[in-house]
């Protein structure tokens, strides 16, 4: 799981243009949206595209996705259970 968490952190940094951060600076359980990392609705859409392209995971809509996108850990746990490829 830790490897997957690190992998996802690196992908998020690249995909979401968070170059001012390193993986070590992102807490596994930090809130991604609202406070914490302060990501916005476009970032949420980018994560949906990332999970589809890299792991074959598809979400019905944004509401379904937002339930998963609480922290890097919750994303990693979801990917671990539902990944189709990658």
């Amino acid at each position: 799981m830790q490897d997957l968490i690190l992998e996802i952190k690196s992908k998020l940094i690249e995909q979401l243009n968070l170059q001012h951060l390193t993986p070590e600076q992102i807490d596994d359980d930090a809130m991604l949206f609202g406070t914490g990392l302060g990501l916005d609705s476009i970032d949420a859409l980018e994560i949906i595209v990332l999970l589809d392209n890299d792991y074959g995971i598809k979400f019905k809509d944004q509401d379904e996705a937002r339930e998963v996108f609480t922290s890097v850990r919750t994303i990693a746990e979801y990917v671990s259970k539902h990944r189709v490829n990658g």
Binding site: L16, Q19, I42, D43, L45, I48, V49, D52
Partner: protein, 194 residues
Amino acid sequence: MQIAFYLSLNLLKMTEYRTELVDSFELELSAEAADLEKQLGEIYQEMGINYPKFYKMNDLCKLGFIGAEKITSNNTSLFSEIAKDQVATIFFNRSSSLVSDHEHMTSIHRQSIPSPAVFVYTLPNILNGEIAIRNEWTGYSAFYLMENYEASKIDELVNIGRHCQTFSLCLAGWVETDLANQKYSLKIMLYKVN
């Protein structure tokens, strides 16, 4: 999306308004020195701005944003006197949002869903939006394309804008990302309207 704005203006009867040039800033970047996006990042860091959203912008918006920050930071007391709905932004370039258009178009064929963050920047007037968000300005905003930089046309369009809508300050400028020649040019002006 690339947008062209070809103008052929006659002298306008705009004598009721006078615009005074208060400040300006210019910047020329060439890829001969270093990667253009990297240069923009270095300038941003040197300026000591803390605005992480900068990294999400495309190069057009980064270039214009740097110019706007230079102007606002040099004129803080002037901006503090003016209401936020009285500041207009009027920008110009030749290449529109081509820095993002091509990336979006090619990603349509490469991926099942193209990047939403790239699509968001396929309109040049997003630059106006980014600067408005940063400064909380709710005034008039416009983006025009011209073949080449022409100071007199910029002056004329600032005056037309002023005639359309009330504003007291206008940030106007040429923000060009010439990918073919790997050169970025910025000429940004602050006008006070009397």
